[in-house]
């Protein structure tokens, strides 16, 4: 079963920046650990939502706005794919993502085939 794991930072980046150095190192190591977990296919590192451009099409014309579709804090900050047996296994991996313990969250979305 494939799950798409969406990472939201919330306040996590600010809170992590205020951490002592060894704890910051732990955060980096934990992300590294996630990427090396069996079943994980890491996503491309995402740039900041401040640098996002959002496109809508109205009357056949592309309209662009600065920033993410939702608010800065609500926007997706990262993702990875997890192949796991069931939701409990996915929850265990999600709980190891540092953002989840520093005020952010991980959303687990089962992949589904519609066609």
């Amino acid at each position: 079963m494939k799950y798409i794991m969406l990472i939201y930072q919330g306040d996590a980046l600010d809170r992590q920046a205020a951490l002592p150095e060894d704890e910051q190192k732990q955060v980096a190591a934990d992300y590294q650990g996630i990427n090396q977990t069996p079943g994980v296919t890491p996503g491309l590192p995402m740039g900041l939502p401040e640098n996002a451009t959002t496109v809508r099409v109205e009357g056949g014309k592309a309209l662009t706005t600065d920033g993410p579709f939702v608010g800065m804090k609500e926007s997706v900050a990262g993702w990875f794919i997890l192949e796991a047996d069931d939701l409990d296994a996915a929850i265990e991996v999600a709980a190891r993502v540092p953002a989840a313990r520093y005020g952010g969250a991980v959303e687990i979305r089962p992949s589904e085939v519609y066609w």
């Binding site: 047996d85 069931d86 939701l87 929850i91 687990i108 089962p110």
Partner: protein, 394 residues
């Protein structure tokens, strides 16, 4: 005959359905097959007699129905050259022994990835065997809403692959607490007057105690529910609320109190010190004459340290008021920050009334009344206000 059938259905529905889900891996298909089997039984058994092993009969009939359906779908798919959607497979199931998978089922229904309302509805539907309409009526929501809630929950179980299993050791405590919370919530809904839900919660509690005989909290919850429910007949008189001290003790259900105490003893023998065991112990003391309020206050103190709940602290205040006087109770109440909780104000009012501080008591009763919309509770507060007006200075 009809009652016998009902009893068999009631007793077997959860087990048959749980085994079918375990075997088919699909809630909808299993439910449909179980329904079909029970319908055939309702048609045939009154005429031909109840089979010697009703469970095996129901299980076999349901399994045939499900297998037929899978074959039909597969044949149809082959005919149109389609891929078979999903992963429905035929697994050989021994026809004489059927595993009891109700525990797997209840852990799936009460999985924290489902909304609590969905957990409750699904538990009542699958284990309790209540119809969608019955659940909708018990929770005062339209049947359509309840049906959608159930459909969504079942869809999520499948799409997100919520496991059908008893959780591994490191998750068990947390997940079992979630299950107990669902049963307790159903009981509480019933305590407000909808008796069928209280009975349903006790029935689920009994099933859990049978399935997890070594867990003290399971027995604690069952004990607490039995003890509270034993006073059900006396909590209302002609639709009006009657407080514990004014209840007609001769009308309490003695057999149920004894059953509750037996469950409590079992929980204590298993070393139980958890929140449900403590609440059961308190409920047991409440059923004694005279009431040991000092002991009750001490138990509420322990429960409060365990849960950190201000509601528990409020209950401790009531017990302390009984042993050390209303002044001591009031001091505790005034330290609790639950300003929108109606029972805080009605408790304050009662203690102030006992202290003869009539004006303050009236204000507190008014505050409680403002926060109460339930008919019987509101009328109770009205009566207290009228009594105050008659006895005290304004």
């Amino acid at each position: 005959m009809v009652t016998t059938l009902d009893q068999v259905f009631r007793a077997e529905w959860g087990r048959v359905l749980a085994t079918l889900i375990g075997f088919l891996g699909d809630f909808d298909l299993a439910e449909e097959a179980a329904q079909e089997a029970f319908a055939i039984a309702a048609d045939r058994w009154p005429r031909d007699g109840v089979p010697s092993n009703p469970r095996a009969w129901l299980m076999t009939t349901a399994r045939h129905h499900a297998t037929d359906r899978i074959r039909r779908e597969r044949a149809l798919a082959a005919k149109f050259g389609l891929l078979v959607a999903g992963d429905r497979v035929e697994v050989p199931m021994k026809s004489t022994t059927f595993p009891d998978e109700r525990l797997e089922l209840i852990f799936t229904c009460c999985h924290p990835a489902l909304a609590i309302e969905a957990q409750v509805a699904l538990t009542l539907r699958t284990l309790g065997g209540l119809s969608t309409d019955e659940i909708a009526r018990a929770f005062l929501v339209p049947e359509r809403t309840m049906a959608q809630r159930l459909v969504r929950a079942k869809r999520k179980i499948k799409a997100a692959r919520i496991p059908f299993r008893v959780p591994p050791a490191h998750l068990l405590r947390e997940r079992l607490d979630a299950v107990l919370a669902v049963v307790y919530l159903i009981f509480n809904e019933g305590y407000g007057g909808r008796e069928e839900l209280a009975a349903e919660a006790i029935w689920l509690g009994r099933a859990l105690a049978e399935l997890l005989p070594d867990d003290p909290e399971v027995h604690g919850l069952l004990a607490m529910m039995l003890l509270h429910d034993s006073r059900r007949e006396t909590r209302f008189s002609d639709g009006e609320l009657v407080l514990l001290g004014d209840q007609d003790r001769s009308q309490w259900n003695g057999a149920q109190i004894a059953a509750g105490r037996a469950e409590l003893d079992r929980a204590l023998a298993l070393g139980g010190r958890g929140p449900y065991v403590l609440q059961a112990a308190i409920a047991s003391l409440h059923a004694e004459v005279p009431c040991d309020w000092a002991q009750i206050a001490a138990l509420y103190g322990r429960l409060g340290r365990l849960t950190g709940s201000p509601v528990v602290e409020l209950n401790r205040a009531i017990a302390v008021a009984e042993t050390e006087g209303p002044e001591a109770g009031l001091r505790i109440v005034d330290d609790i920050g639950l300003d929108d909780f109606r029972y805080l104000h009605s408790t304050r009012a009662e203690l102030l009334r006992r202290l003869g501080r009539i004006d303050e008591a009236r204000d507190a009763y008014l505050r409680a009344r403002k926060l109460t919309d339930d008919g019987a509770e509101r009328r109770f507060l009205e009566r207290r206000l009228t009594e105050l007006a008659a006895t005290g200075p304004r």
